[in-house]
Amino acid sequence: MSELLVGTKKGLFVLSGEDAGTYRITTRAFPGDVVEYATRDRRTGRYLASVTSGFYGPRLMFTDNPAGEWQRASGIAFAEGDDVSLVRIWKITPGEAEGQLWAGTDPAALWESRDGGETWSRNEALWKERIAGDWQPGGGGLAMHSICPWPGDPMKLAVGVSAAGVWITDDGGESWRTGFAGIVPDYMPEDARTDTNVLCIHNMHRAPARPERLFMQFHGGVYRSDDQGETWTDIHEGLPSPFGFPLVTDPADPDSAFLIPMTGAEDRVVPGGALAVFGTRDGGATWSRQGDGLPNEAYVTILRQALAREGEGDDLSLFFGATSGEVFGSTDAGRSWFTVAPRLAPVTSVRVA
């Protein structure tokens, strides 16, 4: 039995099921609000959700029972002197220290909780880098959306920012360095590509079994790093497009990554309407199309956080949701697919509880 947390433009849907035809909605929370992202900290069982009201603004909520009462976390807010206001909470990720969670926001800032998500404080060292570097937003805002802890080592962390590149720390966030080398921003003039920090990271995930390895979906490129994110190699050859947003890795196999390409920046739907996940099992040397059971003539968009995984290796399951409101699942690592839910609201995120 899997429990899916599906964030949508019209609330959080919790679905439970095992395989085709068995998934049912067990809970809808935050009706009418955008649920940007929802996850469950498996260490504590606590659910956390990023919720944005069109009227009353963004907030981070938590609960031990998604069908019960949710409480509002405190601390994710900008001070008077910052001259910015919170727009959206993009990502919530358990850290490696006890009770530690990380959150990333728009405007781009990294936030840390040490009490399981009830209170938060900003990482000031990275905030200073933002000010000094005059970070610029991408189309979706100035977003810190990718947070990659290093399994077993709370000192090491890599984050991805749209559009301010990859940032790496080895001292728990006391200091940060860039991971820009090898990334080619083809939306910049050729003579400005090497010096720019306007690097539009779309998604980034670590390979837990080989933590120095990261995979990245860029704004026009798919990259792999084998040195903690310091340098990057383009591995998009073999994909129908270098553009997209969703990405996951397989915890058991550091050579594996899965993504869903979109046609391009000017046409953010799946190429030719042929909905498919593309996977690699050799570090990006080759890619295979995995669309058995997915619809054709499906001109849909899959957003950044809307592809999720459960399990690993031979037991890897994949789930994703589209802006059309459909959610799809695979219990055989993407080889075959079934419909989990046909008609939800536009899907912003999918995670397995």
């Binding site: 433009k9 603004g57 206001s85 919170l86």
Partner: protein, 87 residues
Amino acid sequence: MPVVTLRAPLQGLAGGNRDLQIDGGTVGDVLRTLEATWPKTTGWILDEHGAVRRHVNVFRNGERVDETTSLGADDHLQVLPSITGGT
């Protein structure tokens, strides 16, 4: 003392109260006291800088006002979602 009228979902965050008598010299004062009295309302009407949110309208005796507006003892504040909000 000014009276503040709330609608759902703010009403639910303020203990189910529709009308609240809250003292204060300005709209901002009253709304901050509302947050202090009913902490679950914190951040819903005022943003982190203390300004009325862009897609929330606050009316004093039927006239749209902001957090700096002065209040008298007999004033009536209504907090309503703006038609420009929502998704």
